[in-house]
Symmetry: C2
Subunit: 333 residues, 2 copies
Amino acid sequence: MSDMQRRVTIEDIAREAGVSRQTVTRAMNDMPRISEATRARVLGVSERLGYRPSRFASNLARTSKAKTIAFVVDSFRNPYYSELTADLLDAASARGWQMTIASHENEPELELIGRLAGEVDAIVGYLSEPDETALVAAARGVPIVLLVSTVTTESLHSIDLDFISAFRKLIPELESRGSRRFALLESQPLGTEYDPSTRRIAYEHAVDTRSAEAVVVCEAPPQSVDAGELGFNELMDRFPDTDTVIAFSDLIAMGALRAAHHRGIDVPGQVRLVGVDGLSLGAVTSPALTSLAILGTEFTEQIADVTERALSGAEVPFEHRSVVPSVIWRESA
Amino acid sequence: MSDMQRRVTIEDIAREAGVSRQTVTRAMNDMPRISEATRARVLGVSERLGYRPSRFASNLARTSKAKTIAFVVDSFRNPYYSELTADLLDAASARGWQMTIASHENEPELELIGRLAGEVDAIVGYLSEPDETALVAAARGVPIVLLVSTVTTESLHSIDLDFISAFRKLIPELESRGSRRFALLESQPLGTEYDPSTRRIAYEHAVDTRSAEAVVVCEAPPQSVDAGELGFNELMDRFPDTDTVIAFSDLIAMGALRAAHHRGIDVPGQVRLVGVDGLSLGAVTSPALTSLAILGTEFTEQIADVTERALSGAEVPFEHRSVVPSVIWRESA
DNA sequence: CTGAAAGCGCTAACAA
DNA sequence: TTGTTAGCGCTTTCAG
């Protein structure tokens, strides 16, 4: 019967307080040219009526240039993503952008993109939808910056990681420190059909044929550390002469470390261990983890830079950058 | 001289494509009642002109009910905050809200609040500004939900943690498992004047007078783990008969664990160790960490619930809830 | 299938 | 100190 839940607007407050809409604006936004008395009265009415400003209306009216980007990842419970989020937030803040976060754990990706498109000025993140056209359509004019391992796209901006180059540098460096028999602790998303990761491919390219066959695949999330522990045990059983283990991620490497302790294997004395990601967490294990770092490299800046272009609506073609992970030498290798 | 960087609007596209603005909208939003030919042409023009939709205008026009909340913390590099963020994101998504994140590491808090106020419908988080009036003014009508340890406010919503009750339950449970001499590894934000935390106060209330004096303060961030290691060593030197250590946070507890290993102290055999926070990280240390958990309790749901009320613009008075942390028993105690 | 009109809720300029 | 007048850029009717 009564108020069909109509929104309370400054109009209502103006009427109730017996002033003009303008005066309400002045009171709400702490602007000058209004007496303390009226301000207080208006604020009182506004609170009594439960007024909630419409950020859409006010931003439109003030032709605000505020930008907000969405950052999409698999899960913010994964330290790699949460550290990357923190890094990107810094880059975004430095540019005056707001950043909203979203994960596609509980929602179909295209639906998520659609919702975000209505709320942000650019969407950046790890998307898995293979159909670019659908992606672009879902984004309704909002630019997308894709973070991927293998870029096949022409109609989107993207940044990828060049693991081929990274491994081509890493392996010889390890060899110069005495490594001879490598092995890889590969990871596979839980409950999916196995598909070799680009990390594995890069690894196989960089090592001798015998090492190339020393690969154990662990089913990773949600508890990658446990998976790493299991995987390391299997690996040492099957390839006992391994002297250097490269783990798919730092989390897996942490599990391997734990397993090594249990087996009484000294790291790096008997087996050298290298993770991937560059988690800051890796600095507090003992021994501290050597890692092929993505975090803390130029990755973040490249993302921010491409996003900046995307936001500007430049008529330039789609950007496509590549960054090479670089080793952080700590104690484990 | 030329275009003073005027924004590209649907008007421009309409003109350029020789259609009405309406038709542009239909093309951009993948709506029906438009021929494929026109849609393609319009989309082409839009891309060529580098058109970027104004989310403010479109949301205003469609009287969208989309809500976005801001979540403010000290730093997303702290696992406690990043796990809490993941939890709250789930709660927010479940309610159909977007969530933007912000930290007041690099910006005066009031300025940050002001910026956020223009972009979101509610602000929730750990704020440190002591002057509530200033806070409310900066928020310009946007509701604030404060996460605090001691609530002194009447003009804001808030949720606090009841450590007094938590410790009053924890200590007897530990005693029933044989604990006699407690000690606290307290934490102090780096470079600040020391001010006893509510956790310390709660601890002192719950233990015997002798244990109440066994307190070591460590300067915490950014490397709380290291601080915990240092602190534990000092603590065992000064209070060697301690049989149970309670750490200010799980991170500090992890440092203590490391120190214990180095000193050859068995945990929990010789010394029991309890952290605070309930980090999922605590499950992968060895021994796994017993913790007075905040994460994974009703805390998140309470925050979301209060935020929901705040968003609704209810005329009800300010909510003020309290949640009691609860112990997760793992291996370290 | 396409267009014209009428706002969405707010604020920037100006007047009073 | 206050009010009036125009929009901000887009989408929703409703006609054509």
